[in-house]
Symmetry: C2
Subunit: 226 residues, 2 copies
DNA sequence: CGACCCAAGATTGCATGTAATCCTGCCGAG
DNA sequence: CTCGGCAGGATTACATGCAATCTTGGGTCG
């Protein structure tokens, strides 16, 4: 298969096979289509995706960097398994940063932003009422936190929280089994929102921290006792 | 230059040209041998280092990920320029995380760890007394913070702070010009140490946060008014 | 029956080729 | 003198080749 098969000009500037491969794999992992432990051979993936190993290699390296994949020497990469202790530590960091994000966001909040948050909470309530599946709940949870950190106006914070949430996500699929988790999450999100809409940065920070703390506690409860 | 020049077996298992290239470039950037703005052409670097473009490309990508380099489309990568506002935001995040690290470290401190910290402070004092150059001061500062976060026992926190400190470092060379900075840093490190050795996690967290806050303030003062 | 060893297979890190794309300096037109 | 455009040069992202290394599934010897 020579490189010539790529015809004259069909490559959009933003094509970027590596990026596409990364997005595809990341989505597959986060949606649990590739459960933890799944082997990800670069040659095999390249073959399956019809591209060469270079972009796939790059994508896998990024996944490894994100903590979503693990490099096993001479056996290819595999989707990271979620270690309860690891996840707990992740939540400790997340607690600080979500609190920070909520505070910063509150300090620079405007009407439009508040409306957006309200919309997200509304959707979340809908999903909850309709009894959506677990994936839908987790997605709503993600959206809310994502919205807040994006309002923080701090690019570094956003980047770090993005990665943290990705990794945390991976754990939720296999660990988060608290029966009332979705309902509690929505309630706690409301608390954060209320503090934000009241324009109280300190309260928002506390609410966000408490939320993550409770997530962590529920996590430990539902997790095997190691 | 065929690949055959690489003789029978001289490649240590941890050779990893990409890693070596990364370390080399990172060190060069952090020591300001490659000042912000310096162009880093992958082909040129590969040539200069006598290796192929693949490992260099990988190294540069990692640097970009670390925020130490910036990708300029079709012009190669270049060493990141430090934007005052960017650095300020970085310090906002760092404030939370250094505080967290100090608290966690204090909670699991032992005698040996305390002794290590004391040693680092002693070295710092020596360097200060001998009037070392700026690079030496910055290095001492780094070592102290590095030691604390390594004592936190939280791998995620350590990784994040590592990257943050790298980026912050880059800024110090061109922005940190407060005349008493080295002396103040040592004093504030002592405050953190004292709180830690007193076994007071809350105080340690406060001290660490205050330290970073003051760093940030000094930064804004010494920085051009945008 | 268990330890050992070997051949087949797979993965890895690196080298290198290449088409497409973009930046630059330069030159002629207006 | 300024603007538009063109040739030359450089950079990218991707494809592919390849030797070294490690894993594995057997098969064999004690």
């Amino acid at each position: 298969m020579s490189t010539a098969y790529r015809s004259v000009n069909n490559v959009a500037p933003g094509s970027l096979l590596a990026e596409r491969a990364y997005d595809e794999l990341r989505a597959a992992i986060l949606e649990n289509r590739l459960p933890p432990g799944t082997a990800m051979s670069v040659p095999a993936l390249a073959d399956r995706m019809g591209i060469s190993r270079s972009p796939v290699r790059e994508a896998v390296q990024r996944l490894i960097h994100d903590g979503l994949a693990t490099h096993v020497p001479h056996r290819g990469a595999e989707v990271s398994s979620v270690d309860v202790e690891d996840l707990r530590q992740l939540y400790v960091v997340r607690e600080s940063l979500e609190g920070l994000a909520a505070r910063l966001a509150t300090e620079r909040l405007d009407v439009a932003a508040l409306a957006d948050l309200e919309g997200i909470l509304g959707d979340h309530a809908l999903v909850l009422a309709e009894g959506g599946d677990e994936g839908a709940h987790i997605r709503q949870d993600m959206l809310f936190h994502q919205a807040i950190r994006n309002l923080s106006g701090n690019a570094h914070l956003i980047g770090i929280l993005d990665r943290i949430q990705g990794k945390a996500h991976l754990g939720l699929h296999s660990l988060w089994r608290h029966p009332h988790a979705p309902r509690l999450a929505l309630e706690e999100h409301r608390e954060i929102y209320d503090a934000m809409s009241a324009g109280d940065p300190e309260a928002a920070e506390r609410a966000a921290r408490n939320h993550v703390t409770r997530l962590r506690v529920r996590l430990s409860q539902s997790a095997p006792q190691r």
